[in-house]
């Protein structure tokens, strides 16, 4: 990959310029690792006062666990919902772009989907609360009356639409581009010979996709949706604007006006007016979020990296 020419016998001449330049590139690389470690270290030191403080000094007079748990629950609920919305759609879009659309249109269509990723999250938030939320009211009422026996739709249905359901849809739209982009890349890597062999045996296009493209792309789709999950977990502004929250609640109810908040949205809403121990508590929740997203992302990257070696052998 690299073109270093240091042969075994002779050493290449090391000029001062070389030393300075390579030293500064190494410094830049190490700086990135330092920043990442610094993020963890600074969050940890700033969160520590909240860990050691007694419960009555914390905001809301609850223990740190009781404060954080509903937020983590809300974060996971919203993100999983987003994943349920986005993954099937993204796989469909990726298949459309990679195997159904005319070859010449594939690149522009992919660019159109990438435009979804370019829209800032604040705008998704405004759109979610102004346009999408009112549209979901009818759906919520219908879900309450027909599927009300499920805990997810037990109601009472919100009249504003600022529910976890809306948040799930908005987050789903926001993570759609990344899942689509990664899945598309993986689908395009399917060995051409596998596809042609399937077609030559008389398979229809769908059978070819089911027998060659999907099995080949499965790990890629899994890690793509985990990357999307990481995005959805950390998404702040859209949730902060759309969701109407009631603190400390843990509920699977997706359509009611009282919802558990998410970690990121809670920080954004509370931080500007907080001081003292409240800031430490918020930073502690941020640390928890950092830990969760780090774990999800590392797992996803690990799967992708493992696959990259695997697909190189094909």
């Amino acid at each position: 990959m690299t073109t270093t020419t240091a042969s075994s016998g002779r050493r290449t001449v090391q000029r001062p310029g070389d030393r300075v330049f390579s030293g500064s590139t190494i410094a830049a690389g190490v700086l990135i690792l330092v920043i990442l470690a610094g993020v963890a270290a600074f969050l940890l030191t700033n969160a520590w006062p909240a860990v050691t403080a007694s419960a009555e000094d914390l905001p809301g007079g609850r223990t740190l666990f009781a404060y954080t748990a509903p937020l983590v629950f809300g974060t996971l609920l919203g993100a999983v919902l987003a994943l349920l919305v986005a993954t099937p759609l993204a796989v469909g879009i990726a298949l459309f772009i990679s195997h159904y659309a005319p070859r010449r249109l594939a690149a522009p269509l992919g660019y159109v989907i990438d435009l979804l990723a370019a829209v800032p999250s604040i705008i998704y938030g405004l759109w979610g609360v102004a346009v999408l939320a009112p549209q979901t009211v009818g759906l919520s009422r219908w879900l309450e009356s027909t599927l009300g026996f499920l805990p997810f739709f037990s109601g009472p249905a919100s009249s504003t639409g600022r529910t976890m359901l809306t948040v799930g849809i908005v987050l789903g739209v926001m993570i759609l581009p990344i899942i689509t982009a990664v899945s598309r890349e993986v689908f395009l890597q399917t060995p051409r010979l596998h596809e042609e062999a399937a077609l030559a045996l008389g398979a229809t296009r769908w059978e070819m996709i089911r027998m060659t493209v999907l099995p080949f792309g499965k790990p890629g789709v899994i890690s793509a949706s985990m990357l999307g999950l990481g995005r959805a977990l950390g998404e702040t502004m859209a949730v902060a604007i759309v969701l109407s929250v009631s603190p400390g609640l843990i509920s699977f109810n997706l359509i009611s006006p009282s919802n558990p908040s998410t970690v990121a949205a809670n920080i954004a809403l509370q931080f500007p007016e907080s001081s003292g121990l409240a800031v430490n508590t918020l930073i502690f929740t941020g640390l928890v979020l950092f830990g969760i997203t780090l774990a999800v992302n590392m797992l996803a990257r690990w799967i992708i990296a493992r696959r990259a070696e695997f697909s190189g052998a094909n």
């Binding site: 590139t25 600074f42 435009l115 370019a118 800032p120 705008i123 938030g125 759109w127 346009v131 990481g230």
Partner: protein
């Protein structure tokens, strides 16, 4: 597979047609005919239900799928029918994804154009209550903060990418690659908390400055710059490097004079896309920079306004006549989306116009 009985069944889609070949292949126009028929039926139903656009779209898709499946399975057999059904499903998945995109753009345009006037771009919010005022201060704040973030992240990102491509071997390079990838997934709010905690160490707990926001944004920006630059440097043909080294040019001059100029267009594209990604970030600026009504051009002194935070506060905490505040929020959102789209277009133009001169 199916045994065909003499007369053709008419499909539920309402379209009539005879198979083109005796042993069962639908004519080429069959999907479009079914689509048109389904759209007609769905339109009739949704007009009677009171002009329901959602019902029309869903109805068209469902009827097309069902009609085509039924027709095809009666003529071509189950396997082909399934294939056609999946084609309909996959195509409608793509169309479904276009709905939010179009809706977002349309909403921002219609609401945003209400206040998209000269005053909006030339006035700050100092002393403004109710109507009037603008985002002059917020635009300048966004440009200053994003500019500082770019100044900090581009050198670091560029050098780190050079290390990974030209020098990096062994565990350090692998660790950097892995953690750069991981770093792209850091939630923006966590980056904001990090910058806040870093500066609170020196300036006390209530710190709000433009530079803090710039540091937070550069945490988000560095991994994007590294990744895109790395990809571009890898595209530079090895022959160029070897030719330069063979002439006795030191390695660092080879990189500075040959490798980077060859890939500069791609690098510029990557940097532009990275700027476009962070310029709309709200959460880190909300907690590190805050908001102010006046114009503050000094990133080292006190709160600054920025477009996304301005839009957020105008929308969630409007004043007593609500409408002017909401109009300003939407107009600020429109400015933001225009900036982002222009940056995206610019990135594509750069890569198109100054394509790498690899001789291929």
């Amino acid at each position: 597979m199916t045994v065909q009985t003499a007369p053709q069944q008419t499909p539920p889609g309402g379209s009539s047609g005879r198979p083109a070949l005796a042993h069962g292949v639908l004519p080429r126009w069959a999907p479009w005919a079914v689509l048109a028929a389904a759209a007609a039926v769905a339109a009739a139903v949704s007009v009677t239900a009171g002009l329901n656009a959602a019902l029309f779209a869903v109805g068209t898709a469902v009827l097309t799928g069902a009609g085509l499946y039924a027709w095809s399975s009666s003529v071509e057999g189950g396997r082909r029918a399934k294939d056609r059904l999946v084609t309909v499903v996959v195509s409608s998945a793509f169309l479904v994804a276009l709905v939010p995109l179009v809706s977002v753009l349309w909403t921002v345009l219609t609401f945003g154009l209400q206040r998209f006037d000269l005053e909006f771009f030339t006035y700050s919010m100092r002393g403004i209550v109710g109507e009037g005022g603008g985002v002059y201060h917020a635009i300048l704040g966004t440009l200053i903060i994003t500019g500082l973030a770019t100044l900090m992240s581009v050198p670091v990102g560029l050098l780190a990418a050079v290390y990974l491509v030209e020098y990096g071997k062994g565990r350090l390079a692998r660790a950097i690659t892995f953690f750069v990838d991981v770093m792209t997934g850091i939630p923006s709010i966590v980056a904001g908390l990090f910058a806040f905690a870093l500066f609170a160490l020196f300036f006390g707990p209530g710190v709000r400055m433009g530079i803090v926001g710039a540091v937070a944004l550069s945490v988000l920006m560095i991994p994007v710059v590294v990744r895109s630059t790395e990809e571009m440097l890898k595209l530079v043909p090895n022959e160029l490097r070897e030719a330069s080294l063979a002439l006795g040019v030191p390695k660092w001059r080879t990189i500075v004079k040959v490798v980077i100029p060859t890939s500069i267009a791609g690098i510029a594209t990557g940097v532009t896309l990275a700027i476009a990604r962070v310029i709309g970030e709200t959460a880190p600026l909300l907690i590190t920079v805050g908001i102010t009504t006046g114009t503050n051009l000094n990133p080292f002194d006190g709160r600054m306004a920025s477009l996304p935070v301005f839009a957020y506060y105008s929308y969630v905490t409007p004043g007593v006549p609500r409408d002017p505040y909401l109009d300003r929020a939407w107009a600020a959102a429109l400015v933001l989306i225009v900036i982002v789209m222009v940056l995206n277009l610019l990135a594509r133009l750069i890569s198109r116009l100054f394509a790498p001169k690899t001789g291929r």
